[in-house]
Symmetry: C2
Subunit: 368 residues, 2 copies
């Protein structure tokens, strides 16, 4: 049984046969789902990932508050099963919503009225409960991000071979579907991955052939990353053992972007296990870099009250409890300024590519 067939069977067993069985045996039909509440999300110190715990909830049919959601869960599970069986192309969550939205015969009720409040949470429930990813269930999310460097990928659906050393200044688009059943990573010559927060910084590094001169993959998720770049990063790290270095602004938002690549996030705890890179290193900018690399004061920007508030929040997160991060957060507070990665051009346009990054990487001057 391949992975797709296995998922079809699981959808059928878990959301079909089980419920049918309940009906036959005159039990209140029910399904058990892992809770995606904040209370069930936690930082797993051993795995160094934000994860969901084992708390479960029962969704039952004969319950005024749950009957509709119960029906919605079965409708979505059944549609996903059908799409997989018919080998339909992957669809977006908006399209799934429209496939299933209809009037319930003889009533004024619709199956679904809203995507965000109704369809999306059930999709997440199913992902979690079957311990899988929506992309494996034939659903995709809108991607955003670019990649260049020595990697060859075979696209199983289009028969194309993508060579990321030949993608021009624009770089290769990180696709919506980066699972192996779509996106088969064939060959990697690069020795590590540099993830850059800012598009402008990434673009300049690409023009300067940073990836070629340093034999790395150069990636950007354009700020806070969408699903696909995070998941691709995790695959590259786990399957190909590529070290991951993250380069962001010096501010709490930059630290946090790094932490999402690394440990994931509470909101998407169910996704973090599959998309986190616990070994990712924070390359910078760090407070110590400012003095070390003599980053000119004219380009520092005063921290505002939102920045200070965010620093305080980060200090409380369990995955920022390590001494080196508590120290860094404290130093930032005392420093009183933030420094954007874009600003390094003021030293020299090629300072980031020629001096800062190679030096940091050579000295392994990271936070982790």
């Amino acid at each position: 049984m391949n992975e797709r067939e296995k998922l079809v069977k699981e959808l059928e067993d878990y959301f079909g046969k089980k419920v049918l069985d309940d009906f036959k045996n005159e039990r209140n039909p029910s399904i058990e789902l892992i809770m995606r509440t904040l209370g069930n999300a936690y930082y797993n110190e051993k795995k160094r990932l934000i994860m969901l715990g084992n708390k479960k909830e029962k969704r039952t049919f004969l319950s005024l508050g749950q009957a509709k959601k119960f029906m919605q869960t079965l409708l979505i599970a059944s549609q996903l099963k059908k799409n997989l069986q018919e080998d339909q192309p992957a669809i977006g969550t908006r399209q799934l919503f429209y496939l299933l939205k209809h009037n319930i015969e003889g009533t004024n009720e619709n199956t679904f009225d809203e995507q965000r409040k109704e369809t999306d949470p059930v999709v997440e429930d199913i992902e979690v409960t079957l311990d899988t990813l929506r992309e494996k269930l034939g659903l995709f999310a809108v991607p955003d991000g670019y990649l260049v460097g020595s990697m060859k990928v075979y696209d199983r659906k289009t028969d194309d071979t993508l060579d990321y050393t030949k993608m021009g200044l624009g770089g290769g688009a990180i696709p919506a579907l980066v699972e192996d059943e779509y996106y088969h990573i064939k060959e990697i010559g690069a020795k590590f991955i540099l993830v850059v927060e800012k598009y402008q910084v990434w673009q300049l590094l690409n023009q300067e052939k940073f990836w070629k001169n340093n034999n790395c993959l150069l990636m950007t998720g354009k700020g806070q990353s969408a699903r696909a770049p995070r998941r691709l990063l995790a695959r590259l790290n786990r399957e190909f053992k590529l070290p991951v270095y993250v380069f962001t602004d010096l501010d709490p938002w930059g630290y946090y972007i790094h932490s999402v690549y690394k440990q994931g996030s509470i909101n998407l705890a169910y996704f973090s296990e599959k998309a986190g890179v616990p070994d990712a290193k924070f390359l910078g900018l760090t407070t110590k870099d400012i003095e070390k690399y003599d980053i000119p004061k004219k380009n520092w920007i005063k921290l505002n009250h939102l920045d200070y508030k965010r620093i305080k929040e980060l200090r409380k997160y369990p995955w920022f409890k390590k001494k080196e991060w508590q120290d860094e957060l404290k130093r930032l507070e005392e420093f009183k300024y933030k420094v954007e990665s874009d600003s390094l051009v003021a030293k020299k346009i090629d300072f980031t590519a020629k001096n800062y990054l190679p030096d940091k990487i050579e000295k392994k001057d990271f936070l982790s």
Copy 2:
């Protein structure tokens, strides 16, 4: 003299020599700039483009209100000239801001304190006044969008040849820099361009090989388009005579997205002349399509007060004054519903690719 050398000379003549000459002749140094105010933007009926008029303003040195902006204009012009002369890589506007931000010696004043309010407007002033694009001045904006279909591009900076029939399910990234000095379009086999508003719709069409079956370029700018997709579209239409069809949701926002691809926008009037495609056709969704293609009522969504307000605004825009658009706007108002392009999957997952689009294109059933 090539284009770059010409621009260097223009920057020098217009923002350097002229001002120096004023100083020497004891005139109040000044530069003349085309005004980018709303009052100077208009719809040119003959060219069918939103454009800037001829109103000019003088920016002078010996003026309390203008001295700083005068200095900023010269600083930016001089930096751009330097970058072009030194053949520096293109930089982003944030990077330009940091290159120029510094304390003015002996004062508490900075050259620039803010990018959006200070650097960006001056960049636009220089683009307009020299009748050029920032990309030709070595500046780029963050792009967003994907493209597939029969087109080959030679990237002059990286020596890569990009074949957009071999880009996999992710498609080719539309790069930040699509001017010929970077992005040399070598070969086009496609017969037209289909621009799709929604990423999800685009992705599904790409999976269904719509571009191959219909020999077109399939592009998305992901909603309201960034600079690069618009400019690339204009180049493909103007230089390669490719017809452009735009496919959006049935709602005033969709109509407007089409109109921006076609005539440009008031806010970026100076860009519209170079990025508009006056011959672009609105393929749909139109109000008439709903009946024609029997789009199920269960997927219509009631227009809300913002939609109605937007319809009223569109009816007043000169470029929506054509009878066919006034009629369409009126029909939408009377119809009372909007219909998203994603929703067509409810007919059948491949309805858009197999029925709707080919039929509309064959019958040339467009609004223009």
